[in-house]
Symmetry: C2
Subunit: 340 residues, 2 copies
């Protein structure tokens, strides 16, 4: 067959079952045997060349599962170019978004899960973040789970991250008052100066999270977009208003703990009739095109802005990943494997 090509395939693998906080040495960049860029007749798979991979906290939490084989390639969302296709909806050259591997080339055996990119005129890397699953997560979590109303008070933790920065901007577009927390003064400035948050604070500099929230929300919080968990959630529960909503999106402060911190103020869910709700963005894929169109339009008009933290090359993935849990990234963390 004319399209048979052979390539090496560099990849990031997990070296062992993880116990305790993830370390760079838990991951390894290896060059596997060569990979054939070909598919047998009758296959409905595609082979993609990975361009950008999204570095997300849950890449780790997935890997805590003992059912995952050691030395398997890390998986997660990425932007890729189709190089070989036996699937009706794709052909070579198509740009797609979906679950792929942290490697140069991936075989996607269920191409139905891939989404074709509609706005290649915007930076392709945006599809790992603001136009990809983090963006969809912000969109579903804020609009569907929180059901925001104009004038409401919104708090976003880990607010400079891929999801948080967009939640804050959605809140402003809705006419809400929005405050974010982040892990450095640099990020706090970014929230206020670049993303238009009404206020922001560096939680590492606050002695008392409850006092910080009381200062930022003298009238209380209607909507909390939860990205961190633990002590922050406990403090937020003390400051929620009646009928408040908490979109439970992530709890990054807890993933690396052997035993998760106790949350003590759940009685407020009853006394203030709160709703706390988790969600899977994958249940809402039918709304992707609506989301993509809205965000692309606002990006082009400048009503929404976006900050990325781009690491170069697969070799940088372990450092980028571990840095995520230390709050080292400023904006959406991603790794570029190839630009085209």
């Amino acid at each position: 067959m004319a399209d048979i090509q052979v390539r090496r395939n560099k990849k990031v693998v997990q070296k062992c079952y993880l116990s305790g906080p993830v370390k760079e040495s838990d991951l390894e960049v290896v060059v596997s045997d060569t990979v054939q860029l070909a598919l047998p007749p009758g296959s409905t798979a595609v082979i993609v060349k990975n361009l950008y991979i999204s570095i997300d906290p849950w890449n780790f939490s997935m890997k805590k599962d003992a059912s995952t084989s050691p030395l398997s390639v890390i998986t997660g969302y990425g932007v890729a170019k189709v190089v070989v296709s036996r699937y009706k909806d794709f052909r070579a050259g198509d740009l797609v978004l979906g679950i792929t591997g942290w490697e140069e080339y991936s075989l996607i055996s269920d191409p139905n899960s891939l989404i074709k990119i509609n706005y290649p005129d915007l930076p392709l890397s945006y599809y790992t973040g603001i136009l990809g699953m983090p963006g969809m997560t912000a969109y579903i979590g804020f609009y569907e789970i929180c059901a925001p109303k104009k004038g409401e008070f919104v708090f976003v933790s880990a607010a400079s991250g891929a999801v948080g920065q967009l939640v804050g901007q959605f809140a402003k577009l809705t006419g809400c008052y929005v405050v974010g927390s982040a892990s450095s003064d640099e990020k706090v400035n970014l929230l206020k100066e670049k993303f238009g948050f009404d206020d922001a604070f560096n939680y590492k500099k606050e002695q008392d999270l409850n006092a910080a929230l009381e200062r930022c929300f003298p009238e209380g919080i209607d909507i909390y977009f939860e990205n961190v968990g633990g002590a922050m959630l406990d403090a937020v529960l003390l400051n929620m208003r009646h009928s408040g909503r908490i979109a439970a999106c992530g709890m990054i402060s807890q993933y690396n703990l052997e035993k998760h911190e106790g949350v003590h103020n759940l009685l407020n869910i009853i006394t203030r009739k709160l709703r706390m709700e988790g969600f899977f963005v994958s249940d809402h894929f039918s709304k992707y095109r609506k989301f993509e169109e809205m965000v692309a339009r606002h990006l082009k008009s400048g009503k929404i802005t976006y900050v990325e933290d781009i690491a170069e090359g697969l070799e940088s993935a372990p450092t980028a990943f571990v840095g995520l849990f230390k709050g080292k990234n400023v904006g959406k963390q991603l790794v570029v494997i190839a630009r085209e």
Copy 2:
């Protein structure tokens, strides 16, 4: 005026601001000055003679509020007879349900909050429980908050209480599998033999709540009707199925603690896309007649049954109230002040 009568008015008062677990000596039965059974012209109030009062855990939690004066009468839901009315919708002799005082006679300055009793042929005391706010709480919490489907797995804690016993019977009427927990073997028997729960366990005899739930729900829990909080909630979170719902109704295990227990497994709200939601039954009063008709019909046909724990006389109220936190009551705890 012909209807001026003078009566003594025995009442239960709170002697001091509460700190720590409530004790019988925190409450006192006193005979106040006499009360005039008359209202001035222009008033829109009513005076009621209290018949049955509902003993609820939240009578206590309300009184923790420092804005409540010491020595004020305890308030809560009760069944009463109107003796003097200046309100258009009521006249002397009407039987009503609503917020009243733990005393022989009460002045109700906002009679709009009272509900007229439609089924005086059923035991009047039922209107403190299964036909009153505990019943409405079960109805709203189960049908509105939990949105149950036939075949789902339902767990109810404090299941022999006023709310729990009805939630279990609603679950059976819906075609669910329902398990309850309670604090004694006697109550466990009641759940299985009288209320038709599929299974039940005495949580005091379980070394490991998680193991008890795994045993009762090998396929997991879709709906948890939360009445206790703390360690039970933590164990339930480990056993919830994807898209499960938790109606946060009460956390009786926590009310008497200076610092509430930490709940460690909230990450499962995210990883299993759970919804946990509090509610105020008072937001749903518009549905009261629909609820009353349904439950009265099922009571008359024998499809729903009910167990009360009736204490005689206002003097018994402090003991009955404190007993609630020790799980001493079997069925709905109430106090009869007068039978007519």
